[in-house]
């Protein structure tokens, strides 16, 4: 069963965060990814660039609008995702609780519905 861990947290730039905290965070995410990999549950992971660099497309009245900025302008932003394959929600919750960002933001555990293999959709689990 696939779950996507959605990491939401307040965005901090490298300047206000400080070199040391940034490096500590990177180390924590490295060992988290290594642990997921070693447990053979990691499908993929991605840490995103800050929402200041995001671009949002919307369509209204048939016209495509391209806008600077995130879809929802909130204090906490989606900062990264981990897709894991585990037995059930309890296992997913256990991994989610170990995500380093749980110390400074929310981790959402969302079951997957379908995913693609070689471009074809497949039901989850």
């Amino acid at each position: 069963m696939r779950y996507t861990l959605l990491l939401h947290y307040p965005e901090m730039d490298a300047g206000s965060l400080g070199e040391e905290a940034l490096a500590a965070g990177q180390r924590a995410f490295s060992s988290y990814a290594a642990a997921l990999h070693q447990a053979n549950v990691l499908i993929s992971a991605e840490v995103l660039q800050p929402s200041s660099s995001t671009t949002t497309l919307t369509k209204s009245d048939g016209a495509l609008r391209v806008q600077d900025g995130p879809f929802a302008d909130t204090k906490e932003q989606l900062g990264g995702t981990f897709v894991i394959d585990v037995a059930d929600l309890d296992a997913a919750i256990e991994w989610a609780g170990k995500a380093p960002s749980v110390d400074w933001g929310a981790v959402e555990v969302r079951p997957g519905a379908t995913y693609t293999v070689d471009g074809a959709w497949r039901p989850n689990a």
């Binding site: 069963m1 037995a87 059930d88 929600l89 309890d90 919750i93 555990v109 079951p111 039901p123 689990a125």
Partner: protein
């Protein structure tokens, strides 16, 4: 040939199986799919089929096994039709053929293990909204229909049905497991299960109908007792599970004194109390105490045990109550425990001391903000206890106003009636008692 006797026997057998094993059968059916709705539909179809086949063919030797086999066939048919649409492989290819009817009597549910325990933990999973846990248990473990649950919670039936469907869908979609947590996770997970079972018991009080006997409230109390004792027995050595079992058993022991007009606990005729349940509750409490550190339910059970002991000794051990309420307040602070403690102080020291304790409680909450004080002042047990203490302190006009306020806030009609009579200066249902402790917020 369907005789009326055969129909009656078949219906009774089906009803017995439904009551005794509904939760077990649902748990067994849903364990492999995670789909509670599908399991419930399959089981209700099996019950329907039983009511058709049993009167003519006779009640099978193993009714539960029969129901399980028929429900499993139903479930498989649903999978098959679903799999032809989605090409999803069958969950369990080994279940391919229908079970031979001859093998049914060999199907030993006890050997499979009691899956109700798993089901209780699923219903009270942290990923399930706390307010729907008790309704979910009532439905999937005990087989109450949505309309009855809705009535007990005083919400519209359609709203309750929708919430139950959503919760079950969530269990399936998010794959909330049907497992009993391991030793490390147990402390974090057990309280929600106990809370939900306690919620089922509390419900039997909240909406207690005026008419004694055969009511939904009595059913709810009985089912909560059954769930609590089952949970404690299945977990074997969890102190708080035995504590809850003891609490509900001892409280239920006093149920025969509850029908009819309201009589405060201290004035109830102890000969009406159920001696067998008092003994059982005491045994549960000893099992709880054997497990070590005393938690909230164990202390509340000990408080009940002190009250029940009046049946044996003829008096209530108020100093013991005071010790227990003080300890309860330390372990699990609550408004109810503080008010009860004030009532006991009113008995062990003086009514004035009890009133001071109530004032201190209101002032404490007031310090937390205006909402805190108003929460205290609208808390019915606070109002009732204050009224009683004022009356005993020899302040009749203040007591009358306080009894009226307590009556306004009382949810149960019999309590309201009693408090209005007290407001009018009468002492209903009393044989000239004078110095007993104030009525606790317990009945």
């Amino acid at each position: 040939m369907t005789s009326p006797e055969a129909r009656t026997a078949a219906r009774q057998a089906a009803e017995h199986a439904a009551r005794a094993s509904y939760g077990r059968l649902v748990a067994l059916l849903a364990a492999s799919t995670g789909d509670l709705s599908l399991a419930e539909d399959a089981l209700s179809a099996a019950f329907e089929q039983a009511l058709v086949s049993w009167p003519t063919g006779g009640v099978p030797a193993n009714p539960e096994g029969w129901l399980l086999a028929v429900a499993r066939n139903r479930q498989r048919d649903t999978w098959k039709s679903a799999s032809s649409r989605t090409t999803r492989p069958l969950e369990d290819a080994a279940l391919g053929g229908g079970p031979a009817m001859a093998a049914l009597d060999d199907l030993d549910l006890d050997a499979i293990g009691d899956k109700r325990l798993e089901l209780l933990f699923t219903c009270a999973h942290p990923a399930i909204d706390a307010s729907i846990r008790t309704p979910l248990m009532l439905q999937v473990v005990l087989g109450f229909d949505a309309a009855r649950i809705a009535a007990a919670f005083a919400v519209p039936a359609t709203a309750m049905a929708q919430r139950l469907v959503r919760a079950k869908k969530r269990i399936k979609t998010a794959r909330i497991p049907f497992t009993v947590p391991g030793r490390t996770d147990m402390p974090g997970r057990l309280p929600a299960v106990l809370e939900a079972i306690y919620g089922c018991y509390a419900l039997s009080f909240a909406d207690a109908p005026d008419v004694p006997g055969g009511s939904d409230a009595e059913d709810l109390a009985g089912e909560a007792l059954y769930l609590a004792v089952t949970l404690a027995a299945l977990l074997r050595t969890e102190p708080e599970a035995w504590g809850l079992a003891a609490l509900i058993t001892l409280s239920q022991a006093r149920a025969p004194a509850r029908g009819g007009p309201f009589i405060p606990l201290e004035e109830q005729d102890t000969s009406l109390w159920d001696a067998r349940l008092i003994a059982e509750g005491g045994a549960h409490l000893r099992r709880a105490a054997a497990g070590g550190a005393a938690g909230r339910f164990q202390m509340e059970a000990a408080i009940q045990a002190v009250h029940c002991d009046r049946a044996r000794t003829g008096r209530t051990d108020c100093p013991a109550l005071r010790t227990l309420y003080t300890a309860l307040e330390a372990v699990a602070p609550s408004l109810g425990a503080r008010v009860a403690l004030a009532a006991v102080i009113g008995s062990t020291e003086s009514p004035a001391a009890g009133l001071s304790a109530l004032d201190a409680l209101r002032d404490l909450r007031e310090g937390e903000g205006p909402a805190g004080a108003s929460a205290v002042e609208s808390f019915q047990p606070y109002l009732a206890t204050r009224a009683e203490l004022l009356a005993r302190d020899g302040r009749p006009s203040e007591a009358a106003a306080a009894f009226a306020a307590a009556a306004e806030a009382a949810p149960q009609p019999v309590v309201r009636e009693y408090l209005w009579q007290r407001a009018a200066g009468q002492w209903p249902n009393s044989q000239g008692r004078d110095n007993g402790p104030a009525p606790l917020p317990l009945r």
